[in-house]
């Protein structure tokens, strides 16, 4: 009974938060002379087939990014550097796949490994600085993001292949391109096969964090570093490993897109996913399944918002307001629920028979 009620509350909280944020956004639109009803009706109309495909694809990228951030958050590490890590990894992976050292599927696997390694290595710099020199990962990852965009920019500008007035890496050979799944007609596009990486990463994330000793140690360190150290966790090693994992996952972020449709690193590279991931991870409270919902929500809002200018003349930026408020409102709602639950739990503890001051005895 209480379980059911708890589940109901847990679901109601984010829903209310979404409603609230849409209300605020509508208000902003209305005040600045737009039409809130258009906004709402566009947002809630059923997406076209191709949008459904895009939502699925974007969800996988956002989800990977959020997982990368969440791994760090679970142990109290604030890896702001996912952005730089996946950029470096995307470039390296594309370069490797384009060079086609290996045939077919092997090339794909090789490129994935390269991407993971490069992402991990870039995060590893922050890890190394923190572990050996005590440099806060907040600072180092901010700096590394800026350095990453300069380095990849330099490399692509210097060694990239000219395409019009832009540059790109060598396209990956046809044999290594990964065909997707086409749920609707051809024009609606394909769901990227490597989007499964997100599923695999999500399941692994859940499995490793909740079912293994390593995951336990990681969570313990996040909850209470002092208790974890007393329990035998080597917190420096843990910091290093966690940042490597975080960077490794970050390395995968753009891979579904690379092998599924982009085929090279160039103008089609999608920047900014690293920052989206942080928000999504926080929205999903750093847990595998809730993050999936959060990623879906963000992907949905992003894709639907594309129609705002065309159909209602509303600036697309407005969707950011919605997303930001959702993050804030959801955590506030959860916080209220948490307090409610805590009190309920204390009540339960108090009602357990104890020789101290229990309700019945005193009032008797």
């Amino acid at each position: 009974m209480t379980r059911l009620r708890n589940i109901a509350i847990a679901l109601a909280a984010p829903l209310l938060a979404i409603v609230f944020s849409l209300a605020v956004t509508s208000l902003v639109i209305q005040i600045s002379g737009g039409s809130a009803s258009d906004f709402i009706s566009i947002l809630f109309s059923w997406p076209a087939d191709r949008l459904l495909v895009n939502i699925a694809n974007q969800t996988s990228l956002i989800y990977l990014s959020a997982l990368a951030a969440a791994v760090g958050f679970r142990m109290n590490l604030f890896n702001i550097g996912v952005e730089g890590q996946y950029r470096m990894a995307a470039y390296a992976g594309a370069l490797f796949a384009g060079a086609a050292f290996l045939p077919g599927a092997l090339n794909v696997i090789g490129a994935l490994l390269v991407a993971v390694a490069v992402g991990a290595a870039w995060a590893g710099i922050a890890g190394l600085l923190r572990v050996t020199r005590g440099v806060s990962e907040v600072i180092s990852t901010i700096m590394l993001n800026a350095i990453a965009i300069t380095i990849t920019g330099y490399l692509i500008n210097t060694y990239g292949i000219k395409a019009g007035d832009s540059r790109r890496t060598e396209a990956i050979p046809e044999s290594s391109q990964v065909p997707g799944w086409q749920p609707f007609d051809k024009a609606a596009g394909e769901v990227w096969t490597l989007g499964l990486l997100a599923v695999i990463a999500g399941v692994s994330f859940w499995l490793v964090l909740n079912k293994t000793r390593f995951g336990f140690d990681l969570r313990a360190t996040g909850q209470s570093e002092s208790a974890a150290i007393a329990s035998g966790v080597n917190s420096k090693k843990m910091t290093m490993v966690t940042l490597l994992i975080s960077g490794g996952i970050a390395g995968l972020i753009w891979m579904p897109s690379l092998f599924g449709s982009a085929h090279y690193y160039g103008t089609t590279f999608q920047a900014g996913l690293g920052f989206t991931g942080i928000a999504v991870a926080l929205l999903g409270r750093n847990r595998a399944l809730p993050i999936a919902f959060a990623a879906l929500l963000f992907a949905y809002l992003n894709e639907q918002s594309n129609r705002l200018t065309i159909e209602a003349g509303i600036s697309v930026e407005v969707i950011q307001i919605t997303q930001g408020i959702i993050v804030l409102a959801v955590v506030i709602a959860y916080e209220l629920v948490r307090r409610y639950r805590l009190r309920a739990e204390e009540r339960e503890v108090a009602q357990a028979p104890r020789p101290g001051a229990t309700t019945e005895e005193v009032s008797a």
Partner: protein, 501 residues
Amino acid sequence: MTTSAVELRGIEKRFPGVIANHDVNLQIAPGTVHALVGENGAGKSTLMKILYGVQKPDAGTITINGETVEFSTPSDAIAQGIGMVFQHFMLADNLTVLENVVLGAEKLHGTGAKARAEVRAISDRFGFGLDPDVLVESLGVAARQRLEILKVLYRGAKIIILDEPTAVLVPQEVDALFANLNGLKEQGHTLLFISHKLDEVLAVADAITVMRRGTTVGDPDPSSVTKRQLAELMVGTELPSPATDESTVTDVVQLSVEQLTMIDEFGRTILDGIDLQIHRGEVVGIAGVEGNGQTELVEGILAMRPTQGTVRLGGDDMSGWATRKRRAAGVGYIPEDRHRHGLLLDSPLWENRILGHAYEEVAVKRGWINRGGARQDSERIVDQYDVRTPGIDTMARALSGGNQQKFIVGRELSGEPSLLIAAHPTRGVDVGAQAAIWDQIKEARRAGLAVLLISADLDELIGLSDRIEVILRGRLVGTFDPRTVTPQDLGEAMTGGQEEA
């Protein structure tokens, strides 16, 4: 009859599901030392917080010097001349002594030279020996305790509440504190203090009030009541004592520490060539004023901090081992600060069963969490150690301190450890739980467990140990036989009196 300094009538305070205070009546005469006693969770702290304005009562009246008052924040209470020293220190480590004192009372003497002079003056008047300009983090517990009192005096408090001020002090420090309190009383202050140590209560109190299950149950006369009667009033049963059973010491050395030395990051020597041996079936107690290296000794043995020297467990040289390997080799650890080192407060009990025991099959199998095993064993601990909790899915935070402690003891004694490091195993827990914990330790010792016991409670130390070592400034400075030693002797050795003699 003069008007009471404090008069509480019909105070009631409810927390979700718990009635912490109910029908509480209390009268305190001005210029007296009034003691408040009662078991854990009896509602003493809650009552004091109400009197100090931290919490609001649900019912009842507070009368100060004949005037009925209502407090909504501590400032209101301070304005009425009330000061409070809390059960746990309320100090900001990164601020100076002066800043900690003047905080909130800046109007009195400002924050500068005048305030500094005033702090010095009070410190000198009571012999506190506090330098206004040092950071609080560099102070030991006794100095912190005095600083807490100084804070109260600085505000010109006439009514001073002290919630378990002696829990962390050694006898000499306690004596000094009481001398201070007497001085205050002579100057017309009214003192209200809480303690679990009934000897102290009988020694200094002019009046006593006993609380039980949230309400006041009597005001025995300190000049006639005995300790035993007092205990009976408090808990309804007789007071247990940690009497040592017959010796079970074997001649097999279980823990052997040789020349253990620890240098901290500032280059100071924290531990200085410690040599220590504990046999199977032996309890070795470490006595010392807090801050003399006992915490670091434990952390050194557990490799939580780097040391030089050798540590052997049974036949194995553990010196190069990391914490996890040492614990896996059979070292149980009851930490002195259960919240910092013993529990994941926001995880359920069954997950806390795994903490520090990830090498045991019941908790982890081949790298995978053994959920079923951990849950089952948690149930066992809850049953066997009488942990009062609705279930093993309850968050550790929701348990009372005593029950948290019982769970930790149960956990650390499972998996048949060969060495138990127990730091203050009964600090702050109620009398019943205390007795249970002592029994468990004694039983394990009979089965051959070697125990390193650290405690600030000298009675506990004397009652449980087979041998007592005194630690002073990072060195072991004396060995005592608990059958012959008195707390006074120990106290003297702990403060360096022996050394000079």
